[in-house]
Symmetry: C2
Subunit: 333 residues, 2 copies
């Protein structure tokens, strides 16, 4: 295993410290905890708290800031954060208007966020929860009942963050989050597995000509192991599975998120994006906005995912609203 | 070789197409050329044009936009753009106030940008040129007389771009570019080589325990091949070489750019950044701003570089000025 790390046991702690000291104007860390919160005063608004295992950087701490998240809780690598840490994040970010938890659909995350939610509600804090399950690769998986939550979560953060920033109340913010979740779908593939530092070796082995179609973001192998194909054919395969959902139709407007998994150069994501653009154009699906980059990674995994989100005027407005976080900035226009 | 590509011969063309279709509000491509220019009207101002081989994405097309570059010329992978393409970029971006060429110090780039400059000046366009040579790893290299231009180039783009956007004339914009160049230094290392698609195999071989210290951004091996050390010791080694320049002293303020080379997860860059922060703090060097991410890559190379730029009030002002490009956004405050 070749990684730019120190002690395997300190990775999350050192990573959070390195993230916070890079962006002191945006984020700070709750003392003694693996929780990132906004450095500025967010004022009286519904707070958004998310989290999950580490290894998905810039998710989730990189999306904390004005117009997006108020708190992000980091678990160990690919491991759910503990209920007490989530509870502290809720307490630290609640301004009295309540807290929405954005949880990716993994059984451990669901359980721990629910426990934290119960603890906070016992203290009189209003807490609601939404579960993101955008991955169309599988109906159930080793770690989930139902579909996994993957890169589409970033779009939930952005849009719901803008809704909260605009001063909407908790039920309204939750309604918008659920609208995004209902309209977002993702499918991914890997050229190479990632290496979890504590394991010290790749999470699965692929031959020189093999790829995995339908991977998640926790080093799990995909649904099919196949011979590598050109980028266009690979993008076709991922898109077909997403379009099979019958959500995205002629005349619809979408966001396209072409997400790198950590070890994929941007050049390759752009090559994939070119073809995605063409296929959607041929189907009369209009691209309102594209995002191409490493938004929700899986350590050093080489590969990518495609996410589509169907938009309406309300979602467009929140998508375009300004935000200012370490990993995503939308300037005021 | 496992890459998300189609035909090796079409990589640059497809990459540029995929980049432009992702950001139609920011950039467009000159028809039939490998030149990216601003999609909006930049108005009467000094134009900034840069370029170089492809494989460094998001450099350079990703930095075209308001407050940064006006044109970026893409050569074949790791290959200088041809004089005629640079000439077309100059012609397309000149508003009558002249054009500054920002060239990384590689012999091929220098030669081709100079030829283009001569062609444009023959037509009465004012053209000036600056050469970035921030890499402290080597005094000369296979492809350069003098030091190489690497990640520090991004800071030249940002600061000089703001200076041009503010309406300064060509000589003033050139003066500021040269001030940045005089005060910026970079040192990099690789955990693994990159694979140039046409070659189909890694540009050098490293054993499981080996790293290269002092690499450039074109797949060339480093100055020393060494046994892998912890992230902190690795960062110490790169920083020591930069600090040996005697530019960065107690009381100075700097930008720190921790740059991933394409295959390095953000987690590892943050771990390195933590230690860099500590070392600079111990030396009384104040970090005014940090940038951590994949800014100037080398295909899928795993590794990173550290760049320091010493700031004064003038440079701080231009650094903080708003910009809006696909790869870097600084919001108005």
């Amino acid at each position: 295993m070749k990684k730019l790390i120190n002690d395997v046991d300190n990775i999350v702690d050192e990573m959070l410290e390195g993230m916070v000291c890079a962006y002191p104007g945006h984020i700070r860390r709750l003392e003694g905890l693996d929780v990132i919160v906004r450095a500025d005063e967010s004022g009286e608004k519904v707070a958004l708290v998310t989290g999950g295992g580490s290894g998905h950087e810039p998710a989730h701490g990189g999306y904390v800031g004005k117009g997006m998240l108020d708190g992000a809780v980091a678990g160990a690598i690919f491991t759910s954060p503990t209920p007490d840490q989530v509870y502290e994040a809720i307490k630290a970010t609640d301004s009295g208007k309540g807290v929405l938890l954005i949880v990716k659909n993994y059984s451990g995350d669901i359980m721990n966020f629910e426990m934290a939610s119960d603890m906070a509600m016992d203290e009189g804090i209003q807490v609601e929860q939404v579960v993101v399950d955008d991955d169309v690769a599988v109906e159930n998986s080793t770690w989930t009942i139902g579909r996994r939550g993957v890169a589409g979560t970033i779009l939930v953060h952005k849009i719901t963050g803008a809704c909260a920033e605009a001063g909407n109340d908790l039920s309204e913010v939750k309604r918008v989050a659920e609208k995004v979740i209902a309209n977002v779908r993702t499918m991914g593939m890997a050229l190479n597995a990632c290496t979890v530092p504590a394991a010290g070796k790749p999470s699965f082995d692929l031959e020189e000509e093999e790829v995995e179609i339908g991977i998640g973001i926790h080093g799990e192998p995909g649904v099919n192991r196949e011979k590598i194909e050109p980028a266009d054919a690979t993008a076709d395969k991922l898109l077909a599975k997403i379009l099979d959902e019958n959500i995205f139709n002629n005349g619809d407007e979408v966001v396209v998120l072409v997400n790198g998994l950590g070890g994929t150069p941007l050049m390759e994501l752009f090559i994939a994006n070119r073809h995605i653009n063409k296929v959607l154009g041929d189907k009369g699906i209009k691209i309102y906005k594209s995002m191409v980059g490493n938004y929700m990674t899986s350590l050093d995994m080489a590969g990518f995912s495609i996410t589509l989100l169907k938009l309406d005027d309300e979602l467009k407005g929140f998508l375009d609203a300004p935000c200012d976080t370490p990993a995503l900035v939308v300037p005021a226009r």
